[in-house]
Amino acid sequence: MGKSSSKPPLLEFYKKMLLIRRFEEKAGQLYGMGKIGGFCHLYIGQESVVVGITATRIPGDQTITSYRDHGHMLACGMDPNGVMSELTGKKTGYSKGKGGSMHMFSKAENFFGGHGIVAAQVPIGAGLAFANKYRGNKNVSFTYFGDGAANQGQIYETFNMASLWKLPVVFVIENNQYAMGTSIERASSTPNLYSRGEAFDIPGELVDGMDVLQVYESAERASDHCRKGKGPYILEMSTYRYKGHSMSDPAKYRTREEVQKIKETKDPIENLQRVLVKNGDSEDSLTKIDHHIKTVIAEAAQFAIDSDQPELSELYEDIYVITDQ
């Protein structure tokens, strides 16, 4: 992807964001049908964050996030069939059905998970950046976590080391306002998460995470900072999740009106759609894109449903890399 001086590929952003939204809607549907089990955390409402950030990746850059990870995988270029199959616990899934929604990885696309323990991915993300620095390349690790994780101790252990060793890591805080059912005001003594790096001399900015263009531009600034060897950077993305924390969350901690108001005024896809139409894309062409994406997702769902469960022998595979001994 180009530098901020070049024209941002807004239509590509639109396609990716729509792909994530339609994927998540389908995942919610399959969960309701009992095709997906366990925990399933949907990304609807936050699509602009990962799409804007990921557009600045160069080959070799890494992405790592928490358990709300479906959008990140699709943004990184992972195959919807493989992701959906994993959600349904099938052998064709990215983890052969052994990881599920929260634990998926793709070495080929430099996606390092998919981590189920709140904040555990943050030191790991710094470790990916450590490897970049060790090897002397220009790559950056994009390490995502939420407003809930922001209060975990290991975040600050990581901030300290990342700044001390000038590691090329962009910390993307996806502040979707609720840590499960606890609003940021009720959980954080200081709600300005972008300033949490001040004590470690890490610059931070607050970004409207619902605006993909602003996200993209901030990611360019942050990754440039890292690539120049200046150390880590914090981007706090102000965003909002439309669905509950997970599928089993009735979301009684917020009003219907609050959600509705965000959907009507801040929806990242609808807002981008308006920009595209203003810039000359026809509504008809955008509808065609949506139809195509719906077909892709329907096929992914069918592929997942039709795929076989893992063989029972798979139970004992992949515990160790087999060595000669």
Binding site: K96, G97, G99, H103, G113, G116, P123, V321, Q325
Partner: protein, 447 residues
């Protein structure tokens, strides 16, 4: 005027002897409290040694450069106008039953296994063995690096990483802040990205801070990723009781880690095994927990000639063959087992002694074959008694070779208490030679 003496001080919980690296005083000098009178070299560091009260030096009893001076040996005499001693006598550290040197003379070590004797080579300590293993693997593979608290400039809290910073530089020998949870996660990330970190925990007690990253990240990611993302990391450091460092610093975590699929767990006894197994650990593409023991770092019973370059995991070592009772142990437990072996054989009981060396994967075949021969078994380890490795072995032996048993298996372990501080209580909290002797007599129906 009373003649007093300065004694070789104990400058660490496990120090048994030291050297006079340098004297700063000569006979006739007047010394004030707080003056530095000598540099004492221990196996961990060179430490400046201060006078604790004003005095006049009469004679230096040990020459500069002398090494291996036992703790509490007089090193200088002095004249003082008070009856205060310059250095208060330190507690005698030699309170553990110590028959291991005798053991080494009496036990013929099986040359087929790892404790091979190449008599031309000098004995090396476990500490040297570990350092050499790290250095050799770092020379061989530039993706291998060492990180941890005080591993670089301080040369290791237990002097294990001595000289490594000088040879490999600060990019590969990395001092971390005191932040186990954070740096273990960071090292795991570096491993996912293809590097091979060796993480030193100053002691495994502090690994508790990092337990989530060890179990949930290092051990499970390969499985959760369907085989895509392996974690080639070595987590190493001293484990188990040291000497009078009490409950929070004295615990053997071997069974905890050994219960987790996805981890490999090693706890060597001899220097040769430490080196060969650590080299294997560093080359292994999986996460390896490498449990050392502070007492064994410089212990003569564990020092050895070097054997095989690489020792495969999952192969126990039959240190000694015998016909009456199988003793199974690992790590420092082997030291106790060796001592018990000498005493048992004096009473005509033939002991077969197995050092497991590796707790995951575990060498069941060697254990079962031995039980089939001796029909009796005692296990020895320092961990807590509930859910010990011995418990697991007892169950496995019962399930697999029950018909060969002539007596119930007895597990000798640490006691079911937090480690106390007082020396006598600490000794009682660990498995004692007497307890092992009783167990051996019980399984042979002698009591």
């Amino acid at each position: 005027m009373d003649d007093e003496e300065i004694l070789m001080p104990a400058l660490s919980p496990t120090m048994e002897e030291g050297g006079i690296a340098k004297w700063f005083i000569k006979p006739g000098d007047m010394v004030k409290a707080g003056d530095i009178i000598a540099e004492i070299e221990t196996d961990k560091a060179i430490i400046e040694f201060e006078a604790t009260s004003d005095c006049k030096i009469k004679e230096l009893l040990v020459e500069e450069g002398t090494t291996e001076v036992k703790v509490n040996t007089p090193i200088a005499s002095l004249q003082t106008e008070t009856t205060q001693t310059l250095v208060s006598a330190t507690e005698n550290k030699a309170s553990r039953t110590n028959v291991t040197d005798e053991t080494k003379k009496n036990i013929t070590i099986d040359p087929k296994n790892s404790v091979i004797t190449h008599q031309k080579e000098p004995l090396i300590t476990v500490r040297e063995a570990i350092r050499d293993a790290i250095a050799e693997e770092m020379r061989r593979d530039e993706t291998v690096f060492l990180m941890g608290e005080e591993v670089a400039e301080y040369q290791g809290a237990y002097k294990v990483s001595q000289g490594l910073l000088e040879e490999f530089g600060g990019n590969r020998v990395i001092d971390t802040p005191i932040t186990e949870h954070g740096f273990t996660g960071l090292a795991a990330g570096a491993a996912f990205a293809g590097l091979k970190p060796i993480v030193e925990f100053m002691t495994f007690n502090f690994s508790m801070q990092a337990m989530d990253q060890i179990i949930n990240t290092c051990a499970k990611t390969l499985y959760m990723s369907g085989g895509q993302m392996n974690c080639p990391i070595v987590l190493r450091g001293p484990n188990g009781a040291a000497s009078q460092v009490a409950a929070q610093h004295s615990q053997d975590f071997a069974p905890w880690f050994a219960s987790v699929p996805g981890l490999k767990v090693v706890q060597p006894f001899t220097a040769s095994d430490a080196k060969g197994l650590l080299k294997t650990a560093i080359r292994d593409p999986n996460p390896v927990i490498f449990l050392e023991n502070e007492i064994l770092y410089n212990d003569s019973s564990a020092s050895s000639h070097l054997g095989s370059d690489l020792i495969p995991f999952g192969q126990a070592c039959t240190i000694k063959e015998g016909s009456d009772v199988t003793l199974i142990s690992y790590g420092i437990g082997v030291k106790h087992a060796l001592d018990a072996t000498v005493l048992a054989e004096k009473e005509g009981i033939s002991i077969e002694l197995i050092d497991l060396r590796c707790l995951r994967p575990l060498d069941y075949n060697t254990v079962f074959s031995s039980i089939k021969k001796t029909n009796r078994c005692v296990t020895i380890e320092e961990c807590f008694p509930v859910c010990s490795i011995g418990n697991h072995l007892s169950a496995s032996i019962m399930e697999n070779v029950f018909d060969y048993l002539d007596a119930p298996v007895i597990n000798c372990t640490g006691k079911d208490v937090p480690m106390p501080y007082a020396k006598n209580l600490e000794i009682a909290a660990l498995p004692t030679i007497e307890e092992i002797q009783i167990a051996i007599k019980k399984v042979t129906n002698r009591i």
